[in-house]
């Protein structure tokens, strides 16, 4: 022990009167009240990569909404100038049918994003329902439902999709169906996992003790607490869907002309690769950029939601 009783200068006896505790200070909530989602948002904001993902997506969505409206060319106008390199009239050049690539890219953006998001939403609905029911009920029902999921994931995905597309003929709706038909499996597994972990937590037991019905438990406890994982999964399902659609279109199974998605554009672009490489480059670039943006957002969300980074 090195510290000793210090010389008491400036100390007066009055300072030593008993004043007692100040409990308001002790129990005061010093920090501003912040709800769970607000805190997630603040943590998300700190992640530069994730925020740049949001900005990129926002810009792409903006262009996708506005460019086809405002452009002097429509996506299907054949203007007679074939395979021209990017110029001031045609920022992304033209293709072999004389169409403006720039407006087609942004039109294609609408299609690709629409397909990706719709497929993800369908996956979400089926996956959440399937996973929650399976997880909540448990027992044999859970076993059966999960075996079905296992079987579905064991079937070669591409086979299923190709058969479906051949049977239904190509088009926007068939493509969405094909993407969703096996995509929900991942969401179902994740939701089931969340439900299993949440349903045994003490706050759910407490709610049951209060007399809560199963639907009350789902609404007030399970879904809100599973929401984080669901959101992250969804944010990562969208780029998968976009990529898969591009891939399938690349194989020639995509939406039919003159409707174009990035994937079909890339597919056509392959043909003119040596002559007009910009026809492949631009759609491929935007596919990659969009996928990157969604992944960055998904990762950022996952990190922002991670309770271990709390406290």
């Amino acid at each position: 022990m090195t510290k000793q009783h210090e010389t008491t200068n400036n100390l007066t006896p009055e300072m030593f009167t008993v004043v007692g505790p100040r409990l308001e200070e002790s129990d005061k909530m010093t920090k501003k009240s912040v709800s769970f989602w607000k805190e997630v948002f603040l943590r998300f904001k700190q992640n530069k990569l994730a925020v740049s993902g949001v900005i990129i997506l926002f810009i792409i969505a903006l262009f996708a909404a506005l460019v086809p409206e405002l452009s002097q060319y429509s996506y299907r106008d054949q203007l007679g100038i074939y395979n021209q390199a990017p110029s001031k009239d045609h920022w992304f050049g033209t293709d072999d049918l004389g169409r403006d690539v720039f407006v087609r890219v942004w039109y294609g953006a609408r299609i690709s994003l629409f397909i990706g998001i719709t497929a993800a939403i369908i996956d979400l609905i089926i996956g959440v329902l399937w996973g929650s029911i399976s997880g909540l009920i448990g027992g044999r029902v859970d076993d059966i439902m999960m075996r079905f999921v296992d079987i579905l994931s064991a079937i070669p995905y591409l086979l299923v999709v190709i058969i479906l597309l051949v049977v239904m003929e190509q088009g926007l709706l068939p493509m969405i169906i094909a993407l969703s038909i096996t995509g929900w499996v991942n969401m179902a597994r994740i939701v089931r996992g969340e439900v299993l972990s949440i349903k045994n937590r003490e706050f759910v037991l407490a709610s049951r003790t209060l007399g809560a019905s199963t639907s009350h438990l789902i609404k007030r406890h399970i879904i809100p607490n599973a929401l984080g994982a669901i959101l992250v999964t969804m944010t990562l399902t969208i780029p998968t869907a976009i990529f898969t659609e591009s891939f399938l279109s690349f194989l020639g199974l995509g939406v039919t002309q003159p409707v174009a998605s990035w994937g079909t554009m890339a597919s056509e672009g392959m043909g003119g690769l040596r002559v007009a490489p910009w026809r492949l480059f631009f759609p491929a670039f935007f596919i990659s950029l969009t996928i990157f943006a969604f992944n960055a957002i998904g990762d950022g969300l996952r990190d922002a939601l991670d309770p271990k980074l709390r406290k």
Binding site: D27, S33, E202, F203, L205, A206, R208, L210, G211, N225
Partner: protein, 308 residues
Amino acid sequence: MNSNHKLLEVKNLSQYFGSPSNPIKAVDGISFHIFEGETLGLVGESGSGKSTTGRSIIGLYDITGGEVIFKGKNIHQVKSKKEQKQLKREMQMIFQDPYASLNPRMTAGEIISEGFDIHGMYRNKNERQAKIISLLEAVGLNREHMTRYPHEFSGGQRQRIGIARALSLDPSFIIADEPISALDVSIQAQVVNLLKELQEERNLTYLFIAHDLSMVKYISDRIAVMYRGKIVELGDADEIYHHPIHPYTKSLLSAVPLPDPILERKRKRIPYVHEETPDTAKMHEPLPNHFVYGTDEQVNKWIKQAKL
């Protein structure tokens, strides 16, 4: 205020888990009762079955065997949804982990008033808010805390919110499942004082499940000691503490470190060697209101040893 009216009677309660051919007998045929207004302490180590007992009584598990009779009614024979809901209002639970027992997405006010939603009570906004505030104040918090989230509170404060939630439906019986084990020592004292106050104010009956023997002795009127799914000893708190009969109880008491160095230096720990208890074992009452589980020979032997 102890009455002689039995609020809760547990008869031969069994709770088995796992495969029916080779079950894990978490609770293996226990019987006890709790009088209105008293606190029965239930102590044991891990694997004793004390938490399972609490959760079986409150209905979180479907019991394997036996009866739970509350206010004269066998609660597992209650069929009507309405009566089942009514039962929930009478019997409530406080949980161990202040971090896991509150939904992190709900505010303190929402957590406390969840019971109102479930039972359709206090639909009027002003009435509801007033009721929430009165519950917060009853547990030593205040209206400022109503809109805050669990992560903004300390462990002790969260446990108070859990207590307020248990009180929200005006129960007459509360099962406290290790309510202070996860709290700091000084906070434990706060919570225990609070529980005692509430018991007096509201004439509550408690089943207090814990492994901290000193705290259990302090808060309980009677104590039941559990070991591997059975109650091995049951009696008044002082009696169990000062005149234990069953060797497990003696061993348990001798293992508790006392916050007193001189007594600690003198303390001799008694190890427990488990003797198999065959089916002839049953509850004996060698002294008035003091019960011990074993065969006739075992109990006689232990009585002789205790007198020495």
